[in-house]
């Protein structure tokens, strides 16, 4: 409590380098890590220990060079600005960690009962139609997880584009884009197989941007949702 209070004060009157770091963070990092560093598309940084950047040198390197494949580097920053950003990220680690209500074990049961594993692999089990979730708790915060279950259409991973096309024979097919070049497109179909099409022969090709293949679960009971989130948040991947 004392610590949190102290930090509230210090954040409003940051030393100059932290202030620089905060401004850079809010313009370049917050899109994924959240305006307050609590995460979103990227992991929460409000942790005392960041797994991939155990020390300051590693953190600065990650800021400047990125962490492939998801995090881009900010190579154009001045070393002084990298230092300031790293210092600001470290200051976030001293803030209070997000509290997650719910029981992970109960959430795992709901995960299996609801059929999530029909589309998501966790620790090697399940089907691979959607993104793997074995480490989802390390990459997304609880708020983001909650919203993507209630309204999946608002959070579309870049590499899960739903496509609907009608082939030369008039057959309509829906699937997730696996790849595409100038003349052909490859889809992953709901039956788990892949299909390839020449774009010039198609009668219709629609990119259903804004539509997720994942069904929405708006009516899930609040307690079940809490448990499910707690379970997903506990999935941190292999140590």
């Amino acid at each position: 409590m004392k610590i949190a209070l102290f930090l509230c004060v210090s954040l409003s009157a940051l030393p100059q380098s932290l202030d620089t770091g905060k401004r850079i963070f809010e313009s370049q990092c917050a899109l994924c890590h959240g305006q307050d560093g609590s995460g979103g598309r990227g992991p929460s940084l409000r942790k005392a220990k960041l797994k991939k950047t155990p020390d300051d040198a590693a953190l600065k390197k990650a800021i400047a060079d990125g962490l492939p494949p998801e995090m881009p580097g900010a190579w154009q920053l001045h070393p002084r600005e990298v230092d300031a950003t790293a210092a600001y990220v470290r200051s976030l680690g001293k803030l209070i960690v997000e509290e997650i209500p719910g029981i992970p074990a109960a959430g795992e049961e709901i995960f299996n009962k609801t059929g999530c594993a029909n589309c998501h692999i966790v620790n090697g089990k399940g089907n691979a139609r959607g993104p793997e979730l074995s480490a989802i708790g390390a990459r997304r915060n609880a708020k983001h997880l909650r919203e993507s279950i209630l309204t999946p259409n608002s959070f579309l991973p870049e590499d899960f584009l739903l496509v609907e096309l009608t082939d030369a024979a008039g057959k309509t097919v829906k699937g997730v884009k696996a790849n595409e070049d100038l003349f052909t497109i490859q889809l992953a179909l709901p039956n788990g197989r892949h299909a390839s099409f020449d774009k010039a022969t198609l009668k219709n090709l629609k990119r259903l941007t804004g539509q997720s293949t994942m069904p929405a679960f708006p009516n899930i009971p609040a307690a079940d949702l809490d448990n499910l989130i707690a379970y997903l948040a506990s999935l941190k991947g292999a140590e």
């Binding site: 809010e26 313009s27 881009p72 154009q76 920053l77 001045h78 600005e81 595409e180 070049d181 003349f183």
Partner: protein, 521 residues
């Protein structure tokens, strides 16, 4: 006298005298200079491959480089193909692709590419020598028969950030090169070297020093680190004896606070006297650039009627998303218009200067502007076909949020002052566009899945050849843009195509990542 006679006969025996390069159109079965001709057209006069038969094009041979992302534009002459990769050259038997010789120069351990990839865009040939510009900033001349080194001249010290990735340009008796380093606060220049000895003939600094015209376009000492790199091969008009070259961005790239003024001659074309390097005229496309929109482009020299009068023109689809036609004798602006999405200018005034929209500079919180920093087009070549009288350009359609950051100069480090975050990949795209040469008006376009990294070549047979990030190597109908042939190369294509004869039949070569493919009917 006797000595002079011997010298004369030696010159007469030279395999590729300048006259062959100047008259490249007379021997369309060879590809004698970076752009195919000195006018920068990247157009092949060969017409054996046509829209009617291009569907039968097949791989004849392939050559694997030791490194990836090859951008080389080969030279082809008298049955041999010369290719380059960083600090490396090879001569290949044109019929089979078998190596005849290779040459390599070690890259120093402490060498660093500041702001660009480690690439090489091709060699130049003149008389009996092949010329290669190296990453560690040497110009090297090799014997074309054996690959043995004739001379190597230090162009500049690589440690503060000077480097070379371009194909040199051979003009009469001289080899011309430019430097990379626009993100390292260099002071850019264009150099000409005596082709025989490697002695520097002249140097043109792209940033004027105090006392020179144009220095007053730089606040204080900012000219000293003003960048103005010269990293793409120029063009040459032998009749006017003028060399045309594109100049890169000012430094620091995204923070213009310390360099108030127009920052000449960055983001410009310059016309230099071929003998002396003296400036004849300049035209600045993007005054006081803050978006990294280098004008490092291959200029295209064309003669065309403008309002009923034949004019000697220089034309350019620019990285800043505007197309320009200028008089190449005087630099006078003739016409221009946007050829890709841009949100930074309300058009061009009657002198060709952009009417900049206030508030489009990078700022601390980020400012969304089109085009993105890699521009509406970039280093790779455009093409002009005298057959269709169209200019072809691989066009990039993307915007970016630009940031302004701190910049202080320390030799051998980034001097950039900001950066960009591009719009999501799913919203970026590209196109091969055909433009009317005197106006830039769109004639047709062929859409690409993503912003391209490959140049275009047009052919007298009526084709436009290019490649995609997705690995396609393809042919379009030069009159309509209709796709006629496609080969999936298996690697990202980021190079420039060429065309030539093998045993009297037309072939096409283009590099895709590690492999150079040669196609024929």
């Amino acid at each position: 006298m006797k000595f002079a006679l011997i010298l004369l006969s030696l010159t007469a025996l030279a395999q590729v005298p300048f006259e062959r390069i100047r008259d490249a159109a007379k021997e369309p079965g060879n590809w004698l200079t970076y752009s195919g001709n000195l006018a920068g057209h990247r157009h092949s006069p060969l017409a054996e491959i046509t829209p009617a038969n291009v569907a039968n094009l097949k791989v004849k041979w392939a050559y694997q480089f030791p490194t990836g992302q090859n951008q080389t534009s080969p030279i082809v002459v008298d049955g041999v193909m010369y290719v380059t990769s960083p600090n490396r050259a090879a001569a290949l038997d044109l019929r089979t692709g078998r190596e005849l010789w290779t040459w390599e120069r070690p890259i120093p351990k402490d060498y660093q590419s500041i702001g660009f990839g480690q690439v090489n865009r091709g060699p130049a040939i003149l008389d009996d020598k092949l010329y290669i510009a190296t990453l560690d900033c040497y110009l090297v001349a090799l014997d074309i028969k054996t690959g043995q080194q004739r001379w190597a001249t230090k162009v500049e010290d690589y440690k503060p950030g000077y480097s070379m990735t371009l194909a040199p340009l051979a003009i009469k008796g001289k080899v011309v090169v430019g430097v990379s380093g626009g993100e390292a606060g260099i002071r850019g220049f264009i150099d000409a070297y005596d082709a025989n000895t490697g002695t520097r003939a002249w140097r043109f600094f792209t940033i004027p020093a105090p006392g020179e015209p144009g220095n007053d376009t730089w606040a204080g000492d900012s000219w000293k680190t003003g960048a103005g790199s010269t990293w793409v091969t120029g063009a040459f008009d032998p009749e006017l004896n003028l060399l045309y070259w594109g100049i890169g961005n000012p430094g620091p790239d995204w923070n213009g606070d310390s360099r108030k003024g127009d920052n000449l001659y960055t983001c410009s074309f310059v016309a230099l006297d071929g003998d002396t390097g003296k400036l004849k005229w300049h035209f600045q496309f993007t005054p006081h650039d803050t978006h990294d929109w280098d004008s490092a482009h291959v200029p295209m020299l064309i003669d065309a009627p403008v309002r009923g009068k034949m004019r000697k023109l220089i034309v350019n689809p620019n990285r800043n998303a505007f197309y320009y036609a200028l008089d190449r004798t005087t630099g006078e602006f003739i016409a221009g218009q946007a050829y890709a999405k841009q949100t930074w200018a309300n058009g061009l005034d009657d002198k060709g200067r952009p009417i900049v929209i206030p508030g489009t500079e990078p700022n601390e919180a980020g400012n969304l502007v089109y085009p993105a920093l890699n521009g509406a087009t970039i280093w790779y070549s455009p093409s002009y076909s005298p057959k269709t009288n169209l200019v072809y350009v691989a066009t990039r359609e993307a915007g970016a949020t630009y940031f302004k950051r701190e910049a202080d100069y320390k030799p051998g480090t980034f001097f950039a002052g900001g950066g960009e975050r591009r719009i999501p990949e799913s919203q970026q795209w590209g196109a091969i566009r055909a433009l009317e040469p005197t106006t830039g008006k769109l004639a047709w376009e062929f859409k690409l899945v993503s912003p391209p990294w490959t140049g275009v070549m047009s052919t007298a047979g009526g084709l436009v050849i290019s490649g995609s990030n997705e690995g396609n190597i393809f042919a379009l109908d030069a009159r309509t843009g209709k796709p006629l042939w496609n080969f999936h190369s298996g690697g990202q294509v980021s190079s420039n195509p060429i065309s030539f004869h093998i045993d009297g039949h037309q072939h096409i070569a283009i590099a895709a990542n590690r492999v150079l493919y040669v196609f024929g009917l």
